[in-house]
């Protein structure tokens, strides 16, 4: 890469190696991201009165009470289980239906393809507030109210279009010659798709899975509308920290810290798919 730096030096624009600038940008960005999260974490170890009374960089009276409130009460911790069930269902369903569709959009022309492609995305464009009631009526009428699958299906409304769009972008980057060579070599469509094509777009699938998980995990309005007890998500349960006596900041912070963990595990598992570019010409 040293050849690349020569012209830069001539112009005198920079004398620092590029890798060092990159590390600097990255460090500053991560500090910017993590300082508020640090604040969330120390809040979760403070009592409510300490949060509101004084400015402390570290909890004076370190307490685990906020966490024990959540982890000993089934009506709290079942929220995490419920959220995890419908989010996983949603991610699997979204990927399963979006993969073939994204392939069709990236490879073929067919009647109404461009309109359909854009229509998919329009489902993310409606402000959800007023749609809550019709959603409730719809899912009650097919007797799915307060089930995990209801929330998973409802979240498909915004996750499937997203999955199709992201995957299509990655698939378009795969040269068509790879498909053609595979078909000439005698691969059937299904075998080609699962054995050759899917491994090639693994980074795209990793990113898509993460985004589906993430958007479904933090969504509040639809999941709250479609559940009452059995499938109530953690984001909805969290709103109960607002009571007559004001907000219980400590418990809310602890609940917030706990909601980050599952997603962080997911991103840890898909990180290699995101980081690894696909090797061109593997066929």
């Amino acid at each position: 890469m040293s050849e690349n730096r020569l012209p830069n030096k001539k112009r005198g624009s920079t004398s620092m190696p590029r890798a060092r600038i990159g590390a600097l940008v990255m460090t500053l960005y991560l500090v910017f991201l993590l300082v508020p999260i640090y604040w969330l974490i120390i809040m979760s170890f403070k009592s409510n009165s300490e949060i509101l009374s004084a400015f402390t960089l570290f909890p004076d009276n370190f307490t685990l009470k906020n966490y024990s409130t959540i982890l000993t009460d089934p009506s709290w911790y079942m929220g995490y289980v419920n959220s995890f069930i419908y989010v996983s269902l949603n991610t699997v369903i979204s990927l399963l239906v979006a993969l073939p569709a994204a392939y069709a959009f990236s490879r073929y022309r067919f009647f109404g393809d461009n309109h359909l492609f854009f229509w998919l995305l329009t489902n993310r464009m409606a402000p959800p507030a007023v749609f809550a009631l019709p959603f409730f009526q719809l899912y009650s009428s097919v007797s799915l109210f307060d089930t995990h699958i209801a929330v998973a299906l409802a979240h498909c409304l915004f996750n499937v279009p997203l999955a199709v769009w992201i995957l299509e972008g990655f698939m378009r980057g795969v040269p068509r010659e790879i498909d053609e060579t595979a078909f000439i070599d005698g691969y059937g469509f299904t075998r080609f798709f699962t054995k050759i094509f899917i491994p090639m777009i693994a980074p795209g699938i990793g990113v898509t899975a993460f985004f589906c998980f993430m958007f479904s995990w933090v969504e509040l309005l639809l999941s709250r509308t479609l559940t009452s007890v059995d499938a109530k998500p953690i984001t909805a349960i969290m709103t109960r920290t607002v009571s007559a006596s004001g907000l219980d900041w400590g418990v809310l912070a602890a609940a917030g810290v706990l909601t980050i963990i599952p997603g962080a595990i997911v991103i840890y598992f898909v990180r290699n798919h995101i980081a690894k570019g696909f090797a061109l010409g593997r066929v």
Binding site: N4, R5, N8, G22, A23, M26, Y29, L30, L33, L34, W39, M43, F55, V97, A98, F105, R107, Y108, F110, F111, L116, L121, T122, N123, R124, M125, A126, P127, A129, V130, P134, L138, L153, A154, C156, V160, P161, I166, G169, F170, G204, V207, F210, V218, L220, I234, M238, L252, A253, G256, T259, I260, G263, I267, R271, N272, I274, A275, K276, G277
Partner: protein, 291 residues
Amino acid sequence: MEKTVNQRAWLLVLPVLVLVAFSSIIPMMTVVNYSFQDSFGENIFFWVGLEWYQELLRSERLWDALGRQLLFSFIILMIEIPLGILVALSMPKKGISASICLVLMSLPLLIPYNVVGTIWQVFGRADIGLLGRILSDLGISYNYSQNAFDAWVTVIIMDVWHWTSLVALLAYAGLRSIPKPYYQAAMIDQASRWSVFRYIELPKMRGVLMIAILLRFMDSFMIYTEPFVLTGGGPGNATTFLSIDLVKMALGQFDLGPAAAFSLMYFLVILLISYVFYTVMITIDKDEAKQ
């Protein structure tokens, strides 16, 4: 790379169509239905035609909120897209440091919206929050709940904090899927860093960037929970964005008609802007494909 015409591709798309249409068409038609009617509770509805729409178009409050919303989304895009690309370019390419960066970067994305608002609500307070404390120690008067400008700055920084990683992750995945030979060819040509970015990386990232821009536009245009938790739309109406206005209307008047009409007009604005952007991007794509 001309695509081949194949009507059987519809079979591959059909599951998506059925699944999305199930949750999309019936609720949408119900809202359309509300928007032309007046309700007096107890499921009694009166047909009022376009009355709600006419009333809304005359409402100054709505135009103010729309103006604020457009400005907000514009600022958000102007900050988050370049910053996201910069972060993606700066990220380590592989190894443990890349993994750590990816996990840490995605943390803000995983925090529920109401908690995001709460974090910044505390974080920005001068008496108990780090940001507010530092600013007041520096002698900068800062109070997001009293001063409209401070409230705006806080909402924008909060959104940049929350969502820039989304742009960065998409751009990073786009960068990683650029085949090595492109870079090798650039090295042989002694291309400068800028021209590698301008002529290789940026065109190859166009697909993911289009998604990133559309997503950030739509979501920032519908932002609700975070500013609502932070400031409740205040001070005054300073951070009353469209959706905050919409919910105020829906809850305040116990009448679905005007709120439904508002939702649909809101939807149409997002649709129109996204469609124009999408069409422009597709046209650029086609022009470049011809060359």
